[in-house]
């Protein structure tokens, strides 16, 4: 399934997210080295985007304001000083508005001004298409290089900021409450599935298929660079009530349990540190076992 001729047949369904995770991985590895397939996928994505005109709908008026509130935390965490300023000289952009922007976003952006209105947007976009293309998105990339891993820093910075507020200011309780609520909201979003989803979308994450003896993938372990892991079941049949799936990492020190998953596991989080050996799933008696009692049902290769 790795040859160009075989993969090319999948490019259409890949662009519509209609492939299996294994096929997706194979295609994306191929796209890294095949310009003609990249171009075809780009075309398919443009066509799909055109079709999506059939589903345009106005979002709630306050949705962008909610997005902005989330960004405030990100920005606070990531820009303690106006770091990107020195790089402004890199902008030779034909677009004066780019050079005029500043690294620290203006407070209190008027969210209502951002509410999507289809008719006026059409005019804007038509005008936008006529403006000269940027020299390179590398400017943005460079600007973000100093920012570090914003997504990872975000929660840590929120917690750190909250701790400082508690220690120094009694009045800071309001601030802590606000941060906590937002943190809760993030954690309560369609739950761990979204977190796993985001980890899976991060190219820096490792995706380890756990395969059965016949080669089929029963689950995927996604491990972020910080060691946060998610087990995403794909084909795990429910077990009898007195049995459970159990997740293991097997390294030089032998098998270490990463968790007892239950008899009908959903997406499960775990954490690993350092190099990860084989990740495996066994079936055990209810309650789990201190060490695997049989051969793994699924394992990474």
């Amino acid at each position: 399934m790795n040859g160009h001729d075989e993969l090319i047949e999948l490019l259409g369904v890949y662009a519509l997210d209609a492939v299996s995770p294994d096929e997706r991985r194979a295609i994306e590895a191929h796209l890294e080295v095949c310009a003609s397939c990249r171009a075809e996928v780009a075309d398919h994505l443009e066509v799909a985007a055109g079709l999506s005109a059939l589903s345009i709908a106005s979002p709630p008026d306050d949705l962008f304001a909610r997005i902005l509130r989330g960004l405030d935390d990100t920005t606070d965490a990531a820009t303690p000083t106006p770091g990107p300023v020195p790089r402004l000289h890199m902008l030779t952009a034909a677009d004066p508005a780019v050079g005029a922007s500043v690294p620290v976003p203006p407070a209190g952006t008027d969210a209502t001004a951002a509410t999507a209105t289809t008719a006026t947007a059409a005019t804007a976009a038509t005008a936008a298409d006529a403006s000269p293309p940027p020299a390179s998105i590398d400017v943005a990339r460079q600007a973000r290089a100093d920012r570090g891993r914003g997504g990872t820093m975000k929660v840590g910075a929120i917690i750190a900021a909250a701790a400082v507020v508690i220690a120094v200011l009694g009045l800071g309780l309001i601030q802590v409450t606000r941060h906590s609520r937002e943190l809760d909201q993030q954690l309560a979003q369609p739950g761990i599935e979204l977190a796993a989803d985001q980890a899976r979308a991060d190219p820096a994450s490792r995706q380890l298929p756990l395969k059965a003896a016949d080669g089929t993938t029963g689950a995927v372990a996604v491990i972020t660079p910080t060691g946060s892991g998610y087990l995403i079941p794909e084909q795990l049949d429910p077990l009898p009530a007195d049995r459970t799936y159990q997740l293991w990492v097997i390294g030089d020190a032998g098998p270490i349990s990463l968790g007892v998953l239950g008899n009908e596991p959903g997406v499960t989080g775990f954490h690993v540190q350092g190099p990860v050996g084989t990740v495996a799933i066994t079936t055990e008696a209810n309650g789990g076992a201190p060490a695997p009692t049989g051969s793994p049902l699924l394992a990474t290769t």
Binding site: S101, D138, A140
Partner: protein, 193 residues
């Protein structure tokens, strides 16, 4: 100092993304104004749940804010980049939910009955004509295969079951259908509808 009032409207999507790289929330607001309805609409269509769709919109725009460098203008328009992310996230949610239901119900997946007509809810007359022209080039099987995959988030294997056709046939039909629509639709994605 911010950009002069109104200047954002004249900026290209790619230049707005550069401004986002400099933490310019007004640039993000302009991108949301241009593409937010498409992102929300697609997520709503796929998930049939406004709350989940709102979550997806937030995910998509926060990700653009946090990782603007992931948009490569040489690989396509910003709108298709955002919608691709939207579609992928929504489909992931659909499949997690489908897997959960299957486990709970302990039943095999039902054969899918394609009921949604792609031409049912065209919102813009000019665009409608273009999309209709594009769709008119497809035969019924191509249309239904694309509809099930794109708007219902089905894998091609599931589409094959629903349409009672070989998987290879479905793959080929979807690819051929997308190619047929290329000329008519590829410009649509560069416009805001």
């Amino acid at each position: 100092m911010t950009s002069p009032p109104g200047s954002y409207e004249s900026m290209s999507d790619a230049n707005l993304v550069i401004s986002i790289g400099r933490y310019d929330q007004d640039a993000l607001a302009e991108i949301y104004r241009r593409h937010g309805a498409a992102v929300f609409g697609l997520a709503s269509r796929l998930l049939q749940d406004r709350n989940l769709a709102e979550d997806i919109v937030q995910t998509v725009f926060v990700r653009l804010w946090e990782q603007p460098e992931r948009f490569d203008p040489e690989r396509g328009a910003l709108r298709s980049f955002l919608l691709s992310h939207t579609h992928g996230r929504a489909v992931d949610l659909i499949r997690v939910e489908t897997a959960r239901r299957r486990r709970e119900d302990k039943v095999e997946a039902q054969a899918i009955q394609p009921t949604y007509d792609l031409e049912r809810e065209v919102v813009d007359l000019a665009t409608a004509e273009r999309v209709k022209a594009a769709l008119a080039q497809l035969n019924d099987n191509e249309r239904r295969a694309i509809e099930l995959a794109y708007f219902q988030g089905r894998t091609y294997q599931e589409v094959a079951i629903a349409l009672d056709e070989p998987e290879g046939t479905v793959k080929s039909r979807i690819r051929a259908g997308l190619k047929k629509m290329r000329v008519d639709l590829i410009d649509v994605s560069h416009e805001v509808l």
